[in-house]
Symmetry: C2
Subunit: 142 residues, 2 copies
């Protein structure tokens, strides 16, 4: 049974002698409301609509906190800004180099081949990233 993100976070906070604040609540709620990969700045913009006084640093720190308690992952597509995604939301990605659109994919056969190869060199997999760059359907017709 999957727990509500806010529950998990609240337990983590209590267990670590940390405090529940209005800012954290707003940021976490906005983060889990969105359905895509978010940059810090993007989440900040969402959050500022609810409470304009919240600054970049607090959003940044809250995302680090979500990472710490396993509720979010940080990804670095190519170079530049990092994106955050909800835990459990992980697929692999095809990224359009023209418009930046991200198309998720998943294939158990690829994962299995990957495991085979790892086993051959006795490598214990913790995580992976598989990103395909190219031109999406829409951008090809332009």
């Amino acid at each position: 049974m999957v727990q509500e993100p806010l529950e998990v976070l609240n337990r983590y906070l209590t267990e670590h002698g940390m405090k529940h604040t209005r800012q954290r609540e707003i940021i976490v709620e906005e983060f889990f409301k969105s359905n895509k990969h978010l940059q810090i700045e993007e989440l900040l913009n969402q959050v500022k609509k609810v409470e304009p006084s919240i600054g970049y640093v607090t959003v940044y720190r809250t995302l680090m906190l979500l990472k710490e308690c396993g509720l979010a992952h940080q990804r670095h597509f190519g170079e530049g800004k990092s994106l955050f995604e909800k835990a459990g939301d992980h697929h692999d990605h095809m990224i359009c180099i023209k418009c930046g659109s991200i198309h998720e994919f998943e294939d158990d056969r690829i994962e299995k081949l990957q495991d085979q190869i790892a086993k051959r060199i006795n490598f214990k997999i913790v995580s992976h990233r598989h990103e395909v760059y190219g031109c999406c359907s829409r951008c090809q017709n332009e």
Copy 2:
């Protein structure tokens, strides 16, 4: 038939009204002499052994040049510094999160599955990165 990197570079330079310099020659030679992924600083160190007056910026610019004429690729493993690798030297990577060692792999079956998936959404692949993070054989016995 594969051409010598220096040949390709020299043609590119001439065609673009750019100049052949001692610095470029040294940097390119050192880059292609090495057999691994190099950080800018690492290549700078190699280069400084031959000609100490060469600075970071020139190495940086020469690597950008190699990228431009397709002789090298820039990769960003995780976060932090970027690594450069010779073109044609591309494999996928298993990266040890303890010691940082990089184990190359390659599997046509994975590439084919990747192509299949791309075709389904009419995505035209230009490049990809497939990185597996985990613990290498040696680090597991410690």
